[in-house]
Symmetry: C2
Subunit: 178 residues, 2 copies
């Protein structure tokens, strides 16, 4: 016998009466941390009224001027359908422009506007501050460890997500047609 019968309920296992099945689950922790990360980001950047998703999209468009929506979604691993409305909002705020492609009539090329570039420069300190705050409670060494493990895990799990990150593929496609 590897366990003492006295500390255990009878053999018929009744449902657990604690929330541990939820609180200790990786999925719950990831969801919770994502909630927290977004809250911190929005709070730090509220003066600029920009969401994390919109920020990532702007950075990607700045990095790849003239990219189209489909490739953009692959570069930041965001859902293509969702990205449509994100782009709409960024265009409505005049941070980006959508121009028809000369070669391909289906494609709309994305470019940062002057205003969008200025916003990115202005918001950078707030974004940095937000990223720092997210890990602040941990000891510096633990921050590095967590970041390394998360990077590793996200990379190794890339194909498991509905919208895998295709930074390289997308870039090649993009370069070929531009």
């Amino acid at each position: 016998m590897t366990r003492t019968a006295v500390t255990k309920t009878p053999v018929t296992r009744d449902p657990p009466i604690t929330m541990d099945a939820v609180y200790t689950a990786p999925g719950y922790l990831f969801r919770r941390m994502q909630q927290i990360a977004v809250a911190i980001f929005v709070e730090e950047c509220k003066a600029h009224d920009l969401t994390p998703v919109q920020y990532a999209a702007l950075v990607a468009i700045r990095t790849h001027p003239g990219i189209d929506a489909t490739r953009l979604s692959a570069v930041i691993a965001f859902d293509r359908s969702t990205l449509g409305s994100v782009i709409e909002r960024l265009e409505a705020k005049a941070y980006i422009e959508r121009k028809p492609s000369a070669g391909d009539k289906r494609i709309k090329l994305l470019h940062l506007t002057r205003s969008g570039g200025a916003l990115l420069r202005d918001i950078m300190p707030s974004v940095e501050q937000a990223q720092v705050r997210m890990l602040q409670p941990l000891k510096p060494a633990d921050r590095k460890t967590l970041l390394a493990l998360m990077t590793q895990l996200v990379d190794l799990n890339n194909e498991a997500s509905r919208v895998p990150l295709r930074a390289e593929d997308a870039l090649e496609h993009f370069r070929k047609s531009s």
Copy 2:
């Protein structure tokens, strides 16, 4: 001079041309991992047609029979407004019941139905499998480390989120009025 001028661009820093500002940011990694975690959960549990949020809500209701929506939101750290529709969907699927409280006419008490309890029992293996898969790519020791750090970070950042986890508080309130 602590840096070599040759390896640096001129003093006027022009915008970086890589996506590193996004890919290495903790916030991006948390978002990405959350996407992946949900995709894995949904895939493993697709036979039961239950989302991670609905699963957590069911477990909480089983753990605290007769809880009301506001306290439920505190126990699983989900937004109260969102929880309204989650509860609606669970009720529509007949997994839970909403009964008026005798003492407080504002409150609706939540209980698992027989069907809801059966579902929870049936789905447990799939949920476990999903949680395992999320961390699978890491070495066992790294899984433990990541889990410990995430638990720590989520706990220490609790107040930073819009809906802090209030498991104990909520329970005391709940016990007092039941």
